[in-house]
Amino acid sequence: MLAPGLPHFLIVGAVLFAFGTYTVVTRTNAVGILMGVELILNAANVNFVAFNRFNPSPLLTGQVFSIFVIVLAAAEAAVALAIVLAIFMTAKTIDATQADTLKE
């Protein structure tokens, strides 16, 4: 057992990012895709905070940036779920492969 250093946190972030990418790529449920996006943003946050911890700056730049990421993720989730609800009201489905009205 070894003490967790910077690479450990980066690996956790990388694995979470990969799972989030898998979710975004393979899901057809629009809400499921959104969950993948949240996972990706959280993985980025882990990296920011880990770099801030192991390279401390007096301004806590990494933590401040991760707070901005959290704010933008909340805004993104609100707008995206509103769009999903609007699609559900018009198309009666949230399957991302079915919402192809513009193609016809």
């Binding site: 910077l6 707070i67 993720a73």
Partner: protein
């Protein structure tokens, strides 16, 4: 489950050998806090796999809860208490509840097997494995400037508040504008149109 096991096997095979130099550098006896890190990391990663591979969208949302909790615990582990509390309040209290609302409003909960279908599973797994391998390689092989004994910041909340009102005042105000635009935009997009 087979898929999860396969990804973990790849992880063990590809990434853990890269950790061996780190192990020889920083080998020391296990401390409870180190064990705690591995437990928290395992909870986050397994929950993340649940989000990615779960058949039911409700289970995926609950796995997302576990992943967000685990990541918040990682933030506490990195002595970023303010970010951890923000994570709890905004993600788990806000975003996750919003996602659960959307799930309840849109999908038919009755047929559990069809709530969260997947397409292109094999290319997706290939992409995941490639991402984990490349990012794990970069994370372990790069000579990061890293100081494990760096002093913990004493007053995170106070420093972050100072910094928000001094150095990062413009992004702070812009993000408040973004939130206002989000509020209005979400209402406009999700409302029902009243036709005359």
């Amino acid at each position: 489950m087979v898929v999860v096991a396969f990804v973990f096997w790849i992880f063990v095979k590809e990434v853990l050998p890269g950790l061996a130099p780190v192990a020889t550098q920083g080998a020391e006896l296990a401390r409870p806090s180190d064990l705690l890190f591995y437990v928290i990391a395992a909870v986050s990663i397994v929950s993340g796999a649940g989000v990615a591979f779960s058949r039911s969208i409700i289970y995926a949302a609950l796995s997302l809860l576990g992943a967000l909790l685990g990541i918040g615990a990682l933030f506490i582990f990195l002595s970023a208490d303010y970010v951890a509390v923000s994570q709890l309040l905004i993600y788990i209290g806000g975003v996750l509840v919003l996602i659960l609302f959307a799930v309840m409003l849109t999908s038919k909960i009755g047929d559990k097997s069809h709530t969260n279908p997947s397409i292109g599973v094999l290319p997706g797994i290939g992409l995941t494995v490639a991402l984990i391998a490349v990012l794990g390689y970069v994370a372990t092989k790069t000579p990061w400037i890293s100081n494990p004994n760096a002093p913990n910041p004493a007053q995170t909340a106070r420093t972050i508040g100072d910094v928000f009102l001094k150095e990062y005042l413009l992004p702070f105000e812009v993000s408040s504008l973004v939130l206002l635009a989000t509020l209005i935009g979400a209402v406009v997009v999700a409302r029902k149109e009243i036709k005359e």
